[in-house]
Symmetry: D2
Subunit: 399 residues, 4 copies
């Protein structure tokens, strides 16, 4: 048992996931999948079948740790391993938006919705998406600017709006849509066969390897029964927040995994390569870049673990998870950038893991709250509190 | 006449180039050209015809300023405008590798070579490439590791080697190849129809919009006459250095142009967009990012101008141009990164100018000398000099 | 004539100043003068006598270049040399607050005030101070918060207020005080013998080597004749702004001089010192720190020169000088920090030039406008302009 | 019990220390003590008496947790509280060099030495110092350059050498001196009454508030009995390394405490102060600086805790403690710098806690291994390991 207090079987699980990722997922990597939505879906479906056989299908893994108060700490071990490959989360069925959608439906869906939407989603029989973000002048970082509306007409709702960057939309069976009603922002489940749900285009984003891509959607006189309302009217932003914290923590875990991998790949390159009469690995400037990435990895992991441990303990992580999101998203971008630099020309190839991660990681400083928004909020929370230090534990960031 | 001492007609020229870029080049932009080598060639050919008509064909422009001791300062004005579009340098025929190859051939080629290679290249009737870089364990940052060989067999040379990241190779009429002979590294002109010159693959690099792409080349028993030797045997590294300084300065100029453009695009976005109850343009965190990009642009331009002015004055720019290369390449990467952040989700679209520049600019910190290599060299030059300050002019970096 | 277009005699002057600073000023340095207001005054008085004899007394130097449109560019050469020593500006009589006060009085004072205050100040017969800054809740970064008042009682004004960080106050013959009147903020000349002018304490600031220290002042029922009003009522902030831009540019010049010197001192140390089997000068991490300081020096000098050249050309430097202030103040702090690191333990000695500069330079990021205030203003100016680029000269920062 | 697994009584202890520091130590602070070696000694002696009475005398505290496998984690809680005041560690008798000297003597001293040196040191009846560092060309960062020699003459050693930056030397009863013998570097206990031990001068360092100051020492024909040899001959560097890891971890703990305090002081200032029409606390640039300090504090604490927990678990912390040292020393410098900036002019006062910490913290990036030395070593350890990841625990930095 390490200083983190996790039992041996957690590490056994981690080893199993690592073995599957190394032996099955990484060999299936192919740079051209980056923005090929159809092929990516096929490849990941096949990998999911193998993951199930290998006993590393994520929903099954989470099931085992339910109620153990180690849930997020174990997810941490798994998600970091999974994150080593851009195909990993799809392969083990713990990729967004499905994974946070499962958590959300598990918390909010009614019994009929659980049968119709949650269970097939857990089983990876279908995919889903989460439709919140809107183009200007709608809701970007600021959800209060929501322009999509839902109007009650008898027992049915008529939804109209414009969404974009809806990850996973292409091929999804259903979407969780946020729209404003008379009672405030409300969530609805919209099936993709609904004629009012129209995928306008697939957006080519730096953030590639997304199952179902990133789509721009028009919602036009989209009629849904009140049974498709998810949770209470007017509660959508509360639910979205509930979904967001774990979703961004999971991102941190996966991204640290990839950051570790590209650092290892760069190191392998450096051990082989000579320049100006020395192995690159013997140059101080190279050692310094490697050291900086390991310093970033160390801090990123400890923060991620700490937020996970607090979530497991049922403590509030509002401030801590915002800090972790800012730090980790920036740290993994720095690490990706250093890996490119360390690998030299070969680091600039867009279809190789390093060049590919350099692109893919960049949007993480924007989605789930841009760094600038989080920093202002973190500082404001500190400055508006009436006292400096509520809790004496110096390890529990207060201020 | 501004503080930089350039005559009015230099600024008139700049305005003409700006008008052509705005009116003709930018409207022809198309994100999908980024790595489409064939289409890019066609589009740029067409634009070059228009540039000639508009009187902004670069070789003609340079001709006018020859001998005026303002050559590089005028190039600066032109290249920054040209750089605003990823198609600009191709459109005005001042893109690498042709532009520095023209400078090199003008300095080194013999009369026959001038007729056969230089003149068609100036006229944009053909394209060329420069084949120096080799994959591990060959010559990357360190040219002394050259593995390509040229062996004299009678009056002919037999060249064998492996090159990669040879920009512009696809569709080039000829290559300037560096190979080691008994007398040291030597340059040869190899025509692409030579059966020993084999394009193995087109490399997909972050650095897109390269006319002729980036190729991996095998040179296999490639036979060339001694007439194809460029300059003296054993002098290739001297010539390469001669070519490199202006080439990297020209890169700085073009890249600052693009950095200016993406900053403007981000600013236009910020002026339109609201968030959390304020226009984004009124948020201090946004203003600060904008300010930082303008600070970087200011310094980058002044350095670029200063190196150009010293080159025009015939002064050595060894240290200054190394400093400018490091600073400018890093500054434009920071600016690209800020533009992505400022433009939010729309900044992450890979085919739009901001997301596209974010990728394209990254390799600049590696090619023409990685920042780490330059920093060590800059520091070493300072520390090995026996005195602190040779020249009292505080504006002439000594130390 | 260099690329900067300065005539030879400017560089001759620079050499003369350098010789005086090296031969006379630097030998008089003594770390214990840092916060010893009385001794510092004595030492500088003595040095001023020698400077006059050597023909490098600054007011005389400026006189020669009046009307030549090279005024600020020549000051640049002189002030950078002078800045090499913490005693330099005092020794040549071009230290704040006297130097900018002279500029201000030359522009605004009436004939009687010129005789009584300006001329003795030019001659260094007296010292002066500038009393604007107030403690909370008065005017710090934001001059509109001015709490000091001046009430007209017949032909006389009664001033009351609280000022602090009034540099040069101890031993000054007179102060230029800003106080609010019915017509708005107004400047007054208050003689230090006025019983209403009370020096409450000398503040010990990181910014040491200030002639006349930094004082906290109480102004209590301080009665002055209307003849002591400087310029028009209600115009104090306009005059203060007029004084501020040159004052902060002069700071940039002097601080770059010191930054150059501590970099040279660190380099001398590195050339002598061995560690882990190599001369420190041969370690890449050391070379990189040295390179970074030279990159910063290069950019800092070019910006400072450019603002000076624009001022000489009568152009507005509002945006450029704000950018230069932010960049230079931060660059010299980074350079000071690197010099400490490069000099190791000996760099931490508070009375030696490196450790001393590390402290002294820090407040420069706060005074004359904190970096955060300037950045917001720089960004705001860009974002509020209706067009992107007024002037096509890429070298003239617009945006 | 928090996620860190510490029992309640650890937090009770922390609260008691906090109460003593707040109620007794902080009220005794006085900026003029910074470099007043004699007064500082008196003030701390008096505080130590009170600490004993209050039951927070550190040696007594450590005693209680011996053998509990929580030793370093409890020290973490205590040392962070203690570190809030520059007088704290002296007041509770857990300041260097005595605290690490106690640890060293406890591990290495023979029974006679324990009685004669260790026990009085634990009781705070005497002070001690550790004499390793030498001026150029001796041992600075690189202990292999040791120039001090010890020559055996019969049963006695004759030591000659030159040491500097010997913290705590003034007023120390004895020194632990490292000198080279025929068998390699060896430790000796030298009493300060030995005529061969000569304090040459007290060095004024940025690192103030050091009990016993920082001295330059000449060791001249200093004769000591072989009974004064500490441990085995030739083992000094092993012992020094043993002493160094805990010593630098303890520094991290104390420095984070001070960083927290100056951040709180800056926050109190920001809540009170207005500028440009808003409370400073409402400005995004201010919130961002505050957020950055909290991000740094969060990471710094987690790293410090993690190294402490691994030491308690008996695991090797070679790489982790080097990473923590680099990160924490740089983070606390950034935090100090931000506190100065946030507090504006009042942050530059050298005798106030913020301005004082800004100076004091700077040398931490140099002593206990300069960042550059550590980074090269961290990178080298990674690059020389034959495999990427020995242990699957992603939380245990491997590479």
């Amino acid at each position: 048992m390490s200083v983190f207090g996790l039992p041996d079987r957690a590490y056994e699980l981690q080893r199993a996931v690592r073995a599957f990722v190394d032996g099955t997922v990484i060999p299936a990597e192919d740079g051209t999948l980056a923005r090929n939505v159809d092929r990516l879906d096929e490849v990941c479906s096949e990998l999911r079948r193998k993951a199930r056989t290998a006993g590393v299908f994520a929903p099954d893994l989470w099931e085992q740790w339910k109620g153990s108060r180690l849930g997020w700490q174990v997810r941490h071990l798994v998600l970091e391993e999974v994150g080593r490959s851009p195909l990993g989360a799809g392969a083990l069925h713990c990729a967004p938006p499905d994974m946070p959608n499962i958590d959300l439906l598990a918390a909010v869906a009614n019994p009929e919705q659980r049968v119709r939407y949650l269970q097939p989603l857990i089983n990876a029989e279908v995919r889903s998406c989460f439709a919140m973000t809107e183009p200007t002048p709608g809701a970007g970082s600021d959800p209060s600017m929501l322009k999509t509306t839902a109007r009650l007409a008898g027992r049915r709702w008529v939804i109209n709006g414009h969404k974009w960057f809806i990850s996973g939309a292409i091929g999804a069976r259903f979407a969780i849509v946020i729209a404003t009603t008379d009672s405030g922002p409300t969530m609805f489940i919209v099936e993709s066969t609904n004629p009012g749900w129209r995928i306008q285009r697939s957006l080519r984003s730096l953030d590639s390897h997304q199952l179902g891509g990133h789509a721009e959607i028009r919602i036009v006189d989209c009629i849904v029964d009140d049974e498709c309302r998810l949770g209470e009217t007017g509660k959508a932003l509360v639910y979205a927040q509930m979904r967001l914290e774990p979703a961004r923590l999971a991102h941190c875990m996966r991204m640290v995994g990839r950051a570790q991998r590209v650092t290892e790949l760069a190191q392998q390159y450096l051990r082989r390569r000579q320049s100006f009469g020395s192995p690159l690995a013997e140059l101080q400037n190279v050692q310094t870049l490697v050291a900086d990435s390991h310093i970033d990895l160390y801090a990123a992991r400890l923060m991620t673990w700490h937020v996970a441990a607090k979530m497991d303990a049922g403590e509030s992580v509002k401030q801590d998870s915002a800090i972790a999101k800012v730090f980790v998203s920036e740290a993994v971008c720095r690490i990706a950038d250093r890996a490119v630099q360390l690998a030299g020309a070969s680091g600039t190839l867009v279809d190789e893991p390093i060049g590919q991660f350099f692109q893919e990681v960049r949007p993480f400083r924007i989605y789930d709250g841009a760094s600038e928004v989080h920093r202002a909020a973190i500082g404001r929370r500190v400055l508006r509190s009436s006292h400096e230090l509520a809790d004496l534990d110096p390890l529990l960031m207060q201020g």
